[in-house]
Symmetry: C3
Subunit: 343 residues, 3 copies
């Protein structure tokens, strides 16, 4: 079977395929924003298999499939009962594809989703395989940047994008930088504590594609031309003793908060984050003092998970053209702002 049929890694995505998904996601907006409904997947069944808990991702895929008219069988938990009895991923995959028309799988072990997908012709979407891939997140991220830029009259060509936080272990930023490298040319600034830098092969890849990459160990510089700051959490559990010591004096150098935005960036710099963010005091994560600031795009970003995941399902199941012809108006009450003023 062809890799086209699954969505396992961003590496399988070229510019044309990403462009297509961005276009289809835009087409899904009237449904995602609950102005229209469609039933194109009426009768279809999604197997939403979460071998690892991840409520937001699970609900997002579930809701996206429902919005297309399909039904969802959820499974949550660290082990499947039958796999605990020695069933192979091959058998599980083959059995599930007899029940479902598409499968989303999240699993703590890198490579397991690909192993699962190898045993079936039913489209499989990688919902995150441990330190591996989480392609739908990277797709909704680039969709968000594209949408925000359209709103602001900007374009990806020549944009300046800052990725900051834990760039070594954060799979989100790894996948995102690969997708970004299909566009541009871009100016990409990478800011992380010493020891948590972006892997050099990824920096080399992006540079080889003609982008300008700059790496720093502090946010204390001028970002007045910055278009996007993409923040991720710095988990101190990742630190060696040595790193811990050197980080003591540095932690303020990685704070994405209102001061940083007001003093170093511009009024058009948007702030993104893969969520969840740690809102506890002392967490080295995106500060809650930005709540309510229109530059904070994190909730628009998570909202965008619905049209992008709808686009992924619709494309893999080949109803992406059909949807447009089969929409009808929503009949229930939808608040003017489905979220808070933080939209």
């Amino acid at each position: 079977m062809s890799q086209r049929q699954h969505l396992l890694t961003v590496d399988s995505l070229n510019r044309e395929r990403v462009d297509h998904l961005l276009r289809v996601a835009t087409r899904m907006e009237p449904i995602a924003q609950r102005r229209q409904v469609t039933r194109v997947l009426e009768g279809a069944v999604l197997g939403n298999l979460f071998f690892e808990a991840s409520t937001r991702t699970r609900v997002s895929f579930n809701a996206a499939f429902c919005r297309l008219g399909g039904s969802v069988c959820d499974t949550t938990g660290f082990t499947f009962s039958s796999m605990a009895k020695g069933e192979s991923l091959y058998d599980t995959s083959r059995v599930m594809s007899g029940y479902c028309d598409a499968i989303v799988m999240r699993h703590p072990d890198q490579g397991s989703v690909a192993e699962f997908a190898a045993a079936t012709n039913v489209p499989v979407i990688n919902g995150g395989d441990g330190p591996g891939e989480h392609p739908s997140q990277a797709l909704l991220d680039i969709y968000t940047i594209d949408k925000e830029f359209q709103r602001l009259g900007k374009s990806l060509g020549g944009a300046h994008i800052l990725l900051t936080g834990d760039l070594k272990y954060g799979r989100t930023v790894h996948s995102l930088i690969k997708l970004l490298s299909l566009y541009g040319p871009l100016r990409i600034t990478l800011v992380s504590p010493p020891g948590l830098e972006m892997p050099s092969q990824l920096v080399d890849l992006v540079t080889s594609r003609g982008h300008h990459v700059e790496q720093r160990n502090s946010l204390a510089s001028d970002f007045s031309d910055l278009d996007v700051v993409y923040a991720t959490r710095i988990q101190k559990e990742r630190f060696t003793d040595e790193m811990n010591e050197s980080f003591q004096g540095l932690s303020n150098d990685f704070m994405v908060n209102r001061d940083f935005l007001d003093q170093r960036c511009s009024e058009h710099t948007i702030v993104m984050h893969p969520l969840p963010r740690d809102s506890r005091p002392g967490a080295n994560d995106l500060n809650v003092d930005l709540n309510g600031d229109p530059r904070l795009a994190i909730f628009r970003q998570t909202d965008n998970g619905i049209p992008m995941r709808m686009a992924i399902f619709a494309t893999l199941l080949e109803v992406d053209e059909l949807v447009e012809k089969e929409m009808r108006p929503v009949r229930w009450f939808v608040p003017a702002q489905t979220g808070t003023l933080d939209r």
Copy 2:
């Protein structure tokens, strides 16, 4: 956003709003009793978020939303994975409202559902927040009383209602007595073991609204004019040592069983209970010897959860008028008695 948009507490309900919900619930009966189906919420998604296990309540909300044609994303478990990572209720709420058209939330901490609701414009229904509120239960209770009274040719004006069991900690009876106080005038008798009496501010509230309230410490009196006995479980775990001792000789004074009904009440006294009831021998709960007695209304009461929760969803999502115009007959087999002879 307005409180009208959520259902967080019975305190936000006035007589007009309760009357409306009772009317809409009645309108839902053909669907709840499976003579008709409707699809008015086709395409809508409910987030059914149970941070605390409660199978019956979760399934009841789930089924009610499905009967209106919507889809449901269930989440069960004591912690959400992302909240365990330090995510605030504010962030969780905002994210979920991007996925769902309505949210039911149950949470062990009082006030948490209101905190969650404050971050979203999507209608939020409190499915129970620990010792706090559980408004849909009180609404289905008053709907049951109203329906039973109609069947028996009675009216709420002048009715005699007995609340018994643990009246101190039972949130169900607190919410119910508030709703009852909007009707009447009523005679309300409160019977509980010493130390588990109804909080005095609630007694004062009800009295100030013109109802006659009487408090006792035993069921050993004449209840021949009683219309409703609403029983709740006495959990001995609530007892101090002192209370435990004094309760030894008293426990028979709080037994709602066939003897009590036959000897002290009338053939038209109906028996209600919020369920679940503890059927184990020695439990201080509604006796199973009433099973099969037509006065036992507890299963009619739980059945009524469906039309009432449909009414809540339909009202908050503003399809309460539409439903009536869009019903069509059920096409599958429905047993004459969907339940047992205990209907």
Copy 3:
């Protein structure tokens, strides 16, 4: 209420009823194979109550109900919250039947599903009650044999069927042999390690119905006329010390693998298994070296769970005639082979 209304045990099934289910399952194939969709159960709600984890069975029932157009409320976990508080199965059953139109229940305790069913008129399907029954498995097994035989131009009359593995504790083979005994006459060979033989009352029952039964303690004989081998796992945890010792030298005598098929059986012998199978090295289970062999019918068998479970729901809910009149073509992409080449 009549036993006809529930599906609790294969003992309640006569030849006519099984024939009917086989016919209805065949009628469901276009939907199960995703060439057609139907909405006959639109508005209906299934309570899918798993008191014991069993992902494949749960998802199979769930998907089957969805394919008929219904909605599903899943419940998983070893205890229901309310049953942990002392609620009786009677109360739980009665409450759930107020919410749902049909109930599937799996429970670790034998007899518990029947107890549950006794309290309701809503159709209840036993999804496995510990060492007791799992009738839908036996039905999909006989449906598989029937379907494979049709493909091969064979008939059940005079067929030779081998059941092997743990025939003492395996509830699957107990139920299957009862259903098989309604057909035939058959030649049934039973091969198990000493101490794990088929219970003699079952052998007597089958013999009394005119079938030829032969019991052996090794697969080392000529099976060149064999039509079906139905393998089950031998769980060494079942063994006494004495059995363990005697099994050491025997384990190869119970190996269903490519060698056994190639050397002792024929090219038309099909291999079945209830799944899951233990694929770990050293497990005494159906060997993975048969993967890809067209005689391996285990994945066609699990696929057959969908049309058979659809047939069970459709029959109990009396829409089995209606379905045929209300199908329309699927509009999404369905791979030519929904599974692997192992179909």
